[in-house]
């Protein structure tokens, strides 16, 4: 039955070459944990992506109830967490997933560093990876403000103060981040916009480049 549907579509759209391009590629022995158990360290990039997918899904679902507004943000988070079925689970996935994503990303970076995979000819992909790292940190920073509780508020104050300590332009960066003179209504709205529109869009583009490059250049050789 499934086979028949697949054949029907494939006959018309010739999809086999597309998915073969995406999924059908060689996994060298030195990155296959079935051959060398220590090769599990090559899983962290994929795990980071997996957690990012969870973040995107759980974030989409949280956005069904969340309101980025200083009056309603905290009540809406409290409502979705305490009064809706599975609210604590879905918010928990997003909350813990954010930390797990950063940890996986860091482990992936360590693996790339210590296997020397960033070297010629993969320098460009290392740069792209660093940009992904910055975007992920930005997603963490902007998302932290959204529940609009004391922790969120003061963490953002501290973050903005740190940004303000940049020589010469710090003042302007702080005003830009806050959207004004204080951490307030405008800050919450722009952090929300950055968190759900700007940074994810940037992340998707960078991830696409990251994946296209790894397929082009292949996995780096054994140590």
């Amino acid at each position: 039955m499934l086979r028949a549907i697949y054949d029907w579509v494939d006959e018309r759209l010739d999809i086999t070459p597309i998915w073969r391009d995406v999924a059908d590629h060689e996994v060298p022995e030195h990155v296959n944990p079935a051959h060398h158990f220590s090769a599990f360290i090559y899983c962290f990039g994929g795990l980071t992506f997996f957690v990012v997918v969870i973040q995107i899904l759980s974030g989409m679902f949280l956005a069904l109830y969340y309101v980025p507004d200083i009056v309603n943000a905290h009540p809406s988070v409290s409502y979705l967490q305490n009064e809706l079925a599975m609210g604590a689970i879905v918010r928990g996935m997003h909350h813990w997933g954010a930390s797990v994503a950063i940890v996986m990303l860091f482990l992936h970076t360590l693996r790339v560093f210590f296997t020397g995979s960033y070297k010629h000819p993969r320098e460009f992909n290392w740069i792209v990876g660093m940009l992904i790292f910055l975007v992920m940190i930005g997603l963490g920073f902007t998302g932290y403000l959204l529940p609009w509780d004391n922790k969120a508020y003061f963490a953002t104050k501290v973050g903005v103060e740190i940004a303000a300590s940049v020589p010469f332009v710090g003042k302007y960066i702080a005003t830009f981040l806050q959207g004004g003179d204080i951490v307030g209504a405008v800050t919450l709205e722009r952090f929300f916009a950055l968190h759900v529109f700007f940074l994810p869009a940037l992340l998707f583009m960078l991830l696409a480049v990251h994946f296209i490059l790894i397929r082009r250049q292949g996995i780096s050789g054994p140590l």
């Binding site: 069904l64 309603n72 809406s76 979705l80 079925a85 599975m86």
Partner: protein, 166 residues
Amino acid sequence: MSKKVSRRKFLTYMLGGTAGFLGAGLLFPMVRFAVDPVMKKGGGVGFVDVGMRVSEITDRPKAVQFKVHRKDGWYQPEEGELLTAWVMKDEKGQVVALSPVCKHLGCTVNWDSNPQFKNQFFCPCHFGRYYKDGTNVPGTPPSKPLDKYQIKIENDRLLIGPVNKA
């Protein structure tokens, strides 16, 4: 039943089954979370004293405004939510409180508001009309009469409750 499952097929099924199980475990909480409003019973509204004496009610529909307290997600205005009822006595002297929500597509009807249609409820959205007792005028968009609020009378005072769902 004599067909043998090849090793490759078996592994494919196991892999697919495991992936499906994990995916379902991931998606179930999120979908359940999203459909929660459908699974929940709506909180009903109780009877409200609208501050009107039954003896004041005439056979001419009068708009009566009253406030109900209803929870809207995380939002519950302290002053309540303003609702309107068209209150009158029918020819038998019974008190009737009609809902102003048009049965066509939910706009708000008004009594005697269009000079072309005297002594009728009129809906400005698609020109739906109702007679005084709430019956829809044939040939206009609504296909059902206006809903009636449940009412109670205590010591000559009118109390209005939830709408009787037809």
